[in-house]
């Protein structure tokens, strides 16, 4: 469905941040894109959604295909119309608009008012908390509520591929779980593909079918969620577990680091 073929991304014509990234999102699947800060995860999402241009970035090599159609030269609105919708990192709600208005902005392109109303009810069904707050100014919602709103806004666009950038960022663990349950439910009920960028590897792999691990602008490892969960390196470097599967005790931490095998 979505294919990234060896793409390179350069900012301001000089700073190359992605060095040949290839990945694939199958229809109806949840794919997790994992990695530490600065690995290039968000840049990959922006390359897909066409938002790179707003930040003076450019796909300089390789290609991105969506159902066979090449989209890496298209503008953000054309890509949005194709059904690829990104929820940005950092809970970017429209602060001075109400919850309901935020959701309406998500449905900007759609004409059918009745369907929009239905989807609004659907979002409120997924996030009952938002229904209670539908007249409140979004800027004053709590962090978790804002994250729900951002995801709800993406849902309102009836996306075929929903790209979520770190939905767990800065949220309490219980909220993170709630939000991930909802993402999973939305994925199964609407057959919407989800491309998920996450640092919280454990929670991301709990709902994903497939995962990619990024480092320094390259994909260093990929495989099914099961495979990644059991991979020694992923466990060691991203989940903080030792090879034994127990929690790492810092008493026994040695002065040298375990060598990553994929490098």
């Amino acid at each position: 469905m979505l294919n990234l073929n060896n793409i390179e991304v350069t900012y301001l014509n000089v700073i190359r941040v992605l060095h040949g990234v290839s990945l694939e999102v199958q229809e109806g699947s949840i794919v997790a894109l994992l990695g530490a800060n600065g690995a290039g995860k968000s840049t990959t999402l922006k390359a897909i959604s066409g938002l790179l241009y707003a930040e003076e970035g450019e796909v300089t090599d390789g290609s991105i295909h969506w159902n066979g159609e090449r989209i890496d030269r298209k503008s953000a609105e054309e890509i949005g119309k194709l059904g690829i919708i990104q929820a940005l990192e950092g809970r970017r709600v429209f602060g001075h608009l109400t919850t309901e208005e935020n959701l309406l902005v998500g449905a900007y392109y759609r004409k059918d008012r009745r369907a929009i109303k239905q989807d609004m009810a659907m979002v409120y069904d997924y996030f009952p908390r938002l229904k209670e707050l539908h007249h409140n100014t979004a800027g004053y919602l709590s962090g978790g509520e804002q994250q729900m709103l951002v995801i709800g806004r993406a849902m309102m666009a009836t996306p075929k591929l929903m790209m979520l950038d770190e939905p767990s960022l800065g949220l309490a663990p219980i909220l993170v779980e709630e939000i991930y349950d909802i993402i999973k439910r939305f994925n199964t009920e609407h057959k919407t593909s989800v491309l998920l960028v996450e640092q919280n590897v454990r929670i991301a792999l709990s709902i994903a079918n497939y995962g990619y691990v990024m480092e320094n602008g390259r994909i260093v490892l990929d495989g099914s969620a099961e495979f990644l969960k059991n991979n020694e390196d992923v466990k060691e470097f991203y989940m903080g577990l030792t090879a034994m599967g127990t929690k790492k005790s810092y008493r026994e931490v040695k002065h040298y680091k375990r060598r990553k095998r994929w490098l």
């Binding site: 707003a54 919708i85 940005l88 429209f94 608009l97 902005v105 900007y108 800027g139 666009a157």
Partner: protein, 294 residues
């Protein structure tokens, strides 16, 4: 007493027109962060265009007025498309400087096409004075005030309930997030410029139908700028309320003070008020608070 009432009504009416024009400034400022210094010039050229339609071409009002609106829409579109869009993502100061250049360009164009620089529009509203209590007020002012009020109402509805209006407000909050929703921000920018030009044109017609077309219209644009500073650059309600304040200050100050001080005092009073307000509230009377959660 009668004098006072008269000053109040003219001040309110003129002030509301300032608000109307100011709203155009606010929309552009909010959606794209550009201070539109060409506002006065746009008021000027649309008034002259109205003159061209109604007097020179001799069209009736029902035909001429829609053409003026069309002209304003095209003007806004052209300005955004050819002067500002090439500069997107450039430092904001360059964009503001471009609007300053536009102001001179438009003023030059007006001088070129209508070199006699002063003329009168045909009367658009009945002129017989009406009595309100003791005061005798020219009906025109009542008309101007009512039309401005209707425009405020329509605009409020548009920004509250229309999809485009909501999207324009969203753009003011977060451009990148708007793009992430698949909304073309360039379309929003061009809408906001078209909007600014239309309200400037309507404001220009209202003012010049009373006072005639003069170079002073540029100053009217400048006054709207000060209205917006007083009300808060990013606040619609601020612009609507600050307009009448400036208008009243002008007409009351002009009416009562100029015999004692000097005739030009009328034009200075609004700015004195602004300086005082800005010292106390730097973001204007109703400037939007930054919403920050801690």
């Amino acid at each position: 007493m009668a004098e006072l009432l008269q000053y109040l009504i003219t001040g309110l009416a003129v002030g509301m027109v300032y608000s109307l024009i100011g709203l155009g400034f606010v929309v552009v400022w909010k959606s794209s962060g550009v201070a539109n210094l060409a506002l006065g010039a746009i008021v000027l050229i649309s008034s002259w265009f109205t003159y061209g339609m109604l007097v020179q071409a001799g069209l009736p009002l029902w035909l001429g007025f829609p053409l003026v609106i069309l002209f304003a829409l095209v003007l806004g579109w052209v300005i955004e498309r050819f002067a500002l869009r090439p500069l997107i993502a450039q430092p904001i100061l360059s964009l503001i400087t471009v609007t300053l250049g536009l102001a001179y360009f438009i003023e030059g164009l007006v001088n070129f096409i209508w070199p006699w620089s002063v003329d009168a529009l045909p009367r658009l509203f009945p002129t017989e004075p009406i009595r309100i209590g003791l005061a005798v007020v020219s009906q025109e002012y009542i008309w101007v005030a009512s039309i401005s009020l209707v425009m405020f109402g329509l605009l409020t509805l548009f920004f509250r309930y229309h999809k485009m209006g909501i999207a324009m407000r969203a753009t003011a909050d977060d451009q990148l997030a708007v793009q992430a929703c698949g909304i073309p921000v360039t379309k929003i920018f061009s809408m906001s410029w078209m909007f600014a030009c239309v309200v400037a044109a309507v404001g220009g017609i209202l003012i010049s139908s009373i006072g005639g077309i003069t170079y002073g219209l540029v100053e009217t644009g400048l006054k709207s700028f000060s209205v917006v500073i007083l009300g808060g650059l990013d606040s619609f309600i601020g612009a609507i309320i600050a307009g009448p304040i400036i208008g009243l200050a002008e007409s009351l100050g002009g009416g009562y003070l100029s015999p004692y001080i000097w005739a030009g005092v009328k034009d200075i009073i609004p700015f004195i008020i602004i300086i005082i307000v800005i010292i106390i509230r730097p973001y204007g009377l109703f400037g939007e608070e930054r919403i920050e959660r801690i």
